[in-house]
Each structure stands twice: as structure tokens, then as C-alpha cells.
């Protein structure tokens, strides 16, 4: 049973204390793109992802983690994205995912 991956999980089971996370960057990202709060975590973005098809990259996991203030490895990971834009087309909440990717990159590393 343990080996079956249904694809619903965002992260391995572990204890996170959100109170200990530094939410400054996360808040800045949400302030600039409030529509991210409309995400229902459906995972369509991950399911359609070109980069996710070729690697372990998981966009839903990434933006959810970043929103929670878990930035470790996020910048390296998001650089796997090819900005192809499929995720924007499939997102049922109409989130401007490409702008979100660029924003996360900007806040976590670039510039």
C-alpha cells in the first residue's frame, strides 16, 4: 500500500510549524498577486505541466509551499519550468500562473 502514489499528496508527512516560518516573502508575493488565494489546489497545473512530465517538478506543491513560507529549494526547482503556459490554460481559477512563476523567481532569487 505504502508504495502506491495516487498523486494527491503535496509533501511527505512531516510536522510543520507555520508560526516559525518567515512569511515576509510569501506575504509580498500574495500582496502582489492576490489571485493566488483563489487556488483550490486542484493540481491541474501539475498534471498538465511540460516540465513536470519530464522531471519531479511539481508546480502545485511548489506554489503551495512558497505560500506557506517554505522556500527551501523552491528557487532551484522553479527554474525547471519552461514558462510554456499550459498551466495557465488549464487552471480552473484562471490564475495567471506564468506571472506567478516570474514573481516567485523575482522574490526568491533573481534581480
Amino acid at each position: 500500500m505504502r508504495n502506491i502514489n495516487f498523486g494527491y499528496g503535496i509533501s511527505r508527512p512531516r510536522a510543520i510549524d507555520i508560526d516559525n516560518n518567515d512569511l515576509r516573502k510569501s506575504n509580498a508575493i500574495i500582496a502582489e498577486m492576490p489571485e493566488l488565494q483563489a487556488c483550490i489546489g486542484c493540481g491541474s497545473c501539475t498534471a498538465s505541466c511540460t516540465a513536470g512530465n519530464l522531471t519531479e517538478f511539481n508546480f502545485r506543491r511548489l506554489h503551495t509551499a512558497v505560500r506557506r513560507g517554505e522556500y527551501k529549494g523552491a528557487y532551484e526547482d522553479i527554474n525547471k519550468c519552461m514558462l510554456c503556459g499550459k498551466c495557465r490554460l488549464v487552471c480552473p481559477r484562471g490564475i495567471n500562473t506564468r506571472a506567478l512563476i516570474m514573481l516567485i523567481k523575482r522574490k526568491l532569487g533573481d534581480f
Binding site: 519530464l54 525547471k80 519552461m82 503556459g85 495567471n96 506571472a99
Partner: protein, 598 residues
Amino acid sequence: MTFFAPFTIPFIIGTIFLFAAVATKFVLWLVRLPRVDKRLIRHNLFTWHTLAAVWEVVRESLLHVRIFKVNPVLGFMHASLAFGWFLLIVVGWIETVAYLGAQWVPLQGHVFFKYFMPINGITHHEPLFEQLMDALLLVVLTGVALAWMKRLRSRFMGMRRTTKHILFDRVALSALWFIFPARLIAESLTAALYGGEGFLTGSLGHALAETVPHDLLVMFYEPSWWVYSSLLGIFFVAMPFSRYMHILAEIPLIFLRHWKLHPTAERKSYDRFEVEACSRCGICIDPCQLQSELGINDVQSVYFLRDRRYNMLNLKVANNCLMCGRCEAKCPVGINLNTLRLNSRAKRRNIPYEGRYKYLRGLDRSSGEGRVGYFAGCMTSLTPATQHSMEQIFKAVGEDVWFADRDGGVCCGRPLMLTGETDAARKMVAYNTDLFRRHNITTLVTSCPICLRVFREHYRLDGIEVLHHSEYIDRLITEGRLSVAADARRYTYHDPCELGRGCGIYDAPRRVIAAVGEVVEPKHSRRDALCCGSSLANTVIDDSQQLRLGERMTAELEATGCDTIVTSCPLCMKAINRAARCSVEDISEVVAKNILRS
């Protein structure tokens, strides 16, 4: 003979300043050109390209033929100002020669000749020249009057909107508006005091001499020439920093273009010629759907170029553009607006990061075997019907096909380029080029115009012919390899921006549809076609704004009363599908449904 008076000082200072400033600019930009561009100039300098450039300078910088084509009234305004002024200078120069014979006269002597005539004791008149100069002045004044009118009511000129200007422009603009009325007054006063025979200044002078007391005329005489000279001086000083720099920047630009220079994904000093050649005529505002549909008023090419020129470009303006090319198609100066927008983004966003895309190494998910390669493109995997139809078509004609990305491929790189990450995009380009070469294909068919454009413009695929699937199908039908049955449906074709304005492909898809049914054209089609709004180039507008753009353009397509809307881009297809009530199909679906099996 003396040709100096104190009032000419502002004019002289202005002229010297203008020449110094413009020469400095041009020399700096030319010196900073990359080596390849300099080589191109050396190579083409003494060829017929240079003659062709001279001819274009006459047509565009003086006569403004292209503006005429877009908007006749606006064209007349520009031409009467530019050509009229130019003739005033030339004829004015000949006039002095007619009066004085071939002797050297300093510049201000030509420009203020009417003033210097009486003080040099010249009293005879050359009626031909006086009439001619008056006629030219009238032409220029008409242009000025139209310019006033345009400011007051842009609709009068057939434009919904006219450009909003910055302070520098306002100074230059105000000076320009009053230069010619001031000249009219100064020359009329001169005619009133010393006589003159021109139908304009002469008659006005007579009228003044009869109605206004002589002392008053004498009192205003000198100051009127001061005003004229100062306005010229102010205009010349402001000119290199204002929109009027375009008058001078367009001339070298035309030559450079004829010598085959063009802007690239990287910025270079050549761009300065293009940026400063923008006259801020505002013609690019009306075609922009961001303006007409969404009311976004500060991102259009004219504002983008202005912001870039004065170093006040922000990311939001640079990114808020569909790169649909509708404005570029209309720009009378022919500025490469999309490329400039692109390399502005690159400057701000391109962060080389070597570790990126390591996962591409050794990757190959392709399948099948054949000399024809099919690259569906990322977006096409979201419109599986297109992919499926293409496979049916390949099967029907018995083509051996190598499928590059049926089981997941690597993006073509254009989306990264569009957002300014040119270095990252280069990795995709290298990966895909290598993949195509390794599988020895000779033809590459793609269903996505975005991929098509980057394959044609940025990949080095010598020996591999790159075709859009509409071109490929068109070829199959004309060569008789594929027969299709005609049905009784009416089809409206939507030209995708990247395929139409981007790659110039308009006829192949129409021929294909015509083989199946009747093609009905929407109001805006071909080079004038609307953008679906989902363009990858725009990362600023949100979903509801995209939807609004899509709805408006779809409504126009449906207004043709067609049964089916056809397009040939997966992205357009998605956008139209969201808004359409009638059926929407990719061109490959239309064909696949009607294949005649022999």
C-alpha cells in the same frame, strides 16, 4: 552687406546647439554598434542599397507617403509641415541667390532674408519668389492649423486617441505651433513698412499699413523678428530631446535599414535610432485592443518607446503587451516594435543561470521513424483533437512520421524569449535542434504558430524545411496526395497573430478551407486580424481581461454567420472556444473529417 542683427542670436545659438547635440548622438550610436553591424555598413555602403535609401528618405521623411496610406488627413498634416518647411528653406535659399547672385550669405541671412532686404537697401521685388514663399508659408500654416485641431479634437483626424506628451515635447510643440504664425506677423510687418508683393504677407502688410498707425508698426517691427528668432531657437534646443528628434533620426535609420541592419533579441545602439525615430504620431494607439477593449492607456507602443527613451520604463509597461503586432503593422515609420519590446524585457529579466535545465541532457521521448518530423508543441497537447487529426492525415497519405513530442517534449523556447529569458531559451533551442538533427528529418511540421516562428527565426535548421501544418496540408492537397470532400458548411477563418503578421502565412490556410467549404471573412482579417487575447507575451492582464478580449473577437467572427470557426493555433482555439456559441475547429480537424478514402 551686413547679415547680422542682435535678434538673430537666439536662432544662431539654437542652430549650433542642435547640430552639436544631434551629431554627438549619431556618432555615439554608430561607434557603439556591434562589429557585425559595422561590417554590414561597410559592405553595403557603395551599392545600390544606398540609392534606394535616398529615395525612401524623400518619400518618407519629406512626403510621409506611409502616413498618407494609414490616415490621409494626418498624412497631409505631416507632409505640409515637413515638406512645406523643407521647401521654405530651399526656395528661401534660391530666393537670396535670385536677389544677390551667387555670393556667400550666412545662414541667418537666408532665414531672415525679408528682414535683411530693407536694411541692405534692396527695394526691388522678385514677385515670383515672393508669391512662392507666401504659398509655401500658407501650406505650412495649414499644417499647423491641422495640428492645433488634432490636439483639440483627435477624432477630427480620424483617430480615437492622440498621444499624451511629456514636458519636453510640450515646450517644443508650443514653439513649433507659433514659429510660423510669428513668421507671418514679422514678414507682414516688414511688408507694411517697406512694401512687399506676396499675396499673403504683402496683402496683410498693406492692410496693416492702412489701419495701424505708423509709430505702432515701427514699435512692433523689431520685437516681432525677435519673437520669430527666439521661437526657432527654443525649438532647436528642445528638438534633440523631444519627439521632433524623429525628423532627424529617421534619416540615418532609413540608410541603416537599407544596409540590412535590424534590431535583435539583445539590445544594441541601433535600437536608439528606432526608438528616437518614433514621431509619437499615436497611430499605434487605435489598433491596440488593450486600449479599445480594456481601456489600458499607458502601455501602447508610443508610450513604451517614450518610456524607454527617457529611461523610465517599468516592468509592468514592458510586460503589458500581447505582441500581437497590430500596431507594428500600422506604424508609418516601420519601427520593429515587437523586437524592441522583447529586448527591453530581456534587459530586465535575463539572468543567466548555468545549472538550469540540466535535466534535458540525454532526454529523448520521441517515437516513430521517418523523414518528416511532427512537433505538436506544448499547447497542442491541450487540444488533442488537433494532434489526432494530424495523425489521421499522416496515415491517409502514408507518410512516415517521426513524432518529436507525442509522449512529452521540450518547449520550443519562445515563451521564455517572450518573457525576456533569452539565455534560458537558448538551452531549449540547442536541445531541440540537436534532437531534430539526430533523427535526420528533412521536413519539420508543427501545429503551433508560436513554435513555427521561433523555428524559423531563431533555430539554425539548414537542410530541414519547417512548415506549419496548414502549409503542409495545403501542399498535400495541391500535390494531389490528399483528396478531401467538399461540404456545404460556411467557415470563418481566424488568423493567429504569430502565423499571420508573425510569419506572413495567410493564403495556405484559406486554400485548405476552400477545398472543404466556403470561407467567409470577418471584419478584421489577414494583416488586420484581431488578437485572441491569450497571447503568451502578456503576463500582466488577468483572466477576466483575457476573456473579454476573446469574447469581443469571437463575436466578430460569429457575426459572419458562419457554421464553424476555424483557426490554426491551439492557443487561439482555446480562447475562441471559451467564448464561442458555434463550433470551433482546428484546420486539421476540418480536413481530417473530410478525407476521401480511395
